[in-house]
Amino acid sequence: MIEGWGRYPRHDSEVLDCRLPEALPGTVSSRAGLIARGNGRSYGDAAIGEHLTLTCGALSRMKSFDQVDASLTVEGGVMLSEILRSFIPRGYFPPVVPGTKFVTVGGMIASDVHGKNHHRDGGFGDHVREIKLVIASGEILTCSRTQNSELFFATLGGMGLTGIIAEATFRLRPISTGWIVQKTVVTENLGDTLQALKQTDDATYSVAWIDCLSRGASLGRSLIFVGEHASPSDIAQMPKAALLPPFKAARFSLPVDLPGWALNRTSVSAFNDLYYRAGARKAARVSLVHWDSYFFPLDGLLEWNRLYGKRGFLQHQCVVPDENALAVLSSMLDRFALSGKASFLAVLKRLRGGAGLLSFPAPGYTLALDLPVAPDVFQLLDEIDKLVVAAGGRLYLAKDARQSRHTFEAGYPQLQAFKELRRTTGADRHFSSQLGKRLGI
């Protein structure tokens, strides 16, 4: 049995470790119904093979770093945490990072992950220069914007359904410190929040934590965290701080599954209230935050997915275009708040267009929140999805465990081109995940 980070759904699938890059061609060409798996941080069923799940964690070697243009070449299973460990002390930061550092480069490309700087710098895929892709025949193709470019753009955000990313080259950005200058903007309702987020479009990083249990006049009240890489003079006021601090190993691991009732409306809404007030007190004050706590606050608590108990949880992440964002997001938030199901991890941010055929990002606002798995949650989400579809939005495949084919097809207009490419490269006969099967990709 194998599951994603949300622990729902679970499937039977043979699991095979890919030990060496040289084993990839043979394995791929001789098997049907397989999918690559990185570190299993996608929430739902994207990294579960229909018949075989090929774990790529041992493809973990870095290949080269070119100082001249700061480009790094690594195997697909290299973890983001390892890149941070090696390169922050040398003054480089990845161009885009998701909310956890425990993901692989292959997983980041296959999901074309977005960070808090998507509105400015695009997704991870926008910074990938070249990949080496093992396609259905076992052949290894070099793909880039100029070479095998159709396959390149299908693979960015392609959820592993075009082949296995054996290697990738992308650029790092030079940084002079490992600190972030953070400013908190406090908003009192959704209208304010959307407005304020839009106004931070020039900032390098921005993201809103949204109190998804408050209703009425304070529906959509938020704390917006705006960040810039600090300069050495910014941190001069912190006498002993290292300019380029490494990360500390994670401190705690949740040893047991919490019982299902632990996160209920009362506890979560009390948490949200406290959190909002604490943030409001810091309003407009500027603080210096360690890169690890700024980008990866959840990583300090390993296996926090156990918070939600054995039944697991779902994340719902959608993006909706600017035009009707206010109306749509308020009715969505109102439904969530009314149901009392949504949890304390709700974020809102701005996106621009994505790079790949199936890339999730589209211009607009993206809302993401967690909900524990329960019988009535599925119906609630189906209703929310109707609002997303009507607004011309879509759901993020890396987080998805349950959307319907209809919702999916309505949101991804380049799906036909993607399918066609799968046919012509033979990928449709070899690469197949539970997600792909469920959504008919």
Binding site: E22, R61, M62, T73, S86
Partner: protein, 249 residues
């Protein structure tokens, strides 16, 4: 990276422990010679370490069973390293080793003959120079023969005795000789086995312990990676043979 002008020779570079160990030394600013059986695989590890740490790393191909090449090989590794670590090992299959002489011989030669001869040659060169550290990776399996893996255990016991003799011979020659016994380690070798968490180390933990003992501030000649092995193995060694022979361990 701070270059400190020290060199490590690491034999068995494509093993999980070897890779982790080389990385710890590279991060501390050492230059590294990596040695393994297949050139492409050693090169893959060398590229990895260079990319991660910007250390100076060279890749060499040598089979530990190819003892006839050892002298020639060492003559091209220059400068003579400050520390030499051999992590080569092969668990083999006990049942198969009971039936097939060839398999048993391979296990014995890989765990004893090859590493012992190689480290012996290095030790003599270090002694001639008057300095150097030799690290052999032996095993708790060499502390007492057990029915379930005595071919491997015997070879490791041989290595332990060899290292002990080497240490004895060179104690006044400026050469340190260390015996590391990792206990269970989560590696390719133990993949699929059920391992007791209390007794099981990660490759990185083994690597850090090796570095701390061989080139850091920690002392010791014979080192179990996890301390719990000291009392445990003392007990296992102390069980009288008439009783031990009936135990299934």
């Amino acid at each position: 990276m701070k270059a400190i002008g020290k060199t490590l020779l690491l034999i068995g570079a494509t093993s999980d422990i070897g890779r982790a160990t080389a990385l710890v030394y590279a991060e501390a600013g050492w230059d590294i010679h990596l040695v393994g059986r297949r050139r492409e695989l050693v090169q893959r590890e060398a590229d990895d370490i260079v990319t991660r740490t910007a250390a100076a790393v060279t890749a060499h191909e040598l089979d530990i069973l190819d003892t006839g090449r050892f002298e020639e090989f060492l003559s091209i590794v220059s400068p003579l390293p400050d520390t030499a670590i051999c992590v080569v090992g092969e668990l083999g299959e006990q049942a198969r080793a009971e039936r097939e002489l060839e398999h048993a011989a391979m296990v014995m030669r890989t765990n004893f003959e090859g590493p012992a001869l190689m480290l012996g040659l290095l030790a003599s060169r270090f002694a001639a120079r008057g300095s150097g550290t030799i690290v052999g990776i032996s095993s708790v399996a060499g502390d007492r023969g057990r029915g379930s893996n005595y071919v491997y255990g015997a070879a490791k016991a041989g290595l332990t005795a060899f290292l002990s003799g080497l240490r004895n011979r060179l104690s006044t020659a400026g050469v340190r000789v260390l015996t590391i016994k990792p206990g269970f380690v989560r590696t390719r070798m133990t993949d699929g086995m059920k391992l007791p968490p209390m007794l099981t180390a990660e490759p990185a933990e083994v690597a850090q312990r090796i570095f701390a003992v061989a080139d850091g501030s920690k002392g010791g000649d014979v080192v179990y990676v996890r301390r719990i092995w000291y009392p445990l193995m003392a007990i296992i060694r102390g069980i009288p043979e008439p009783i031990f022979k009936r135990l299934r361990l």
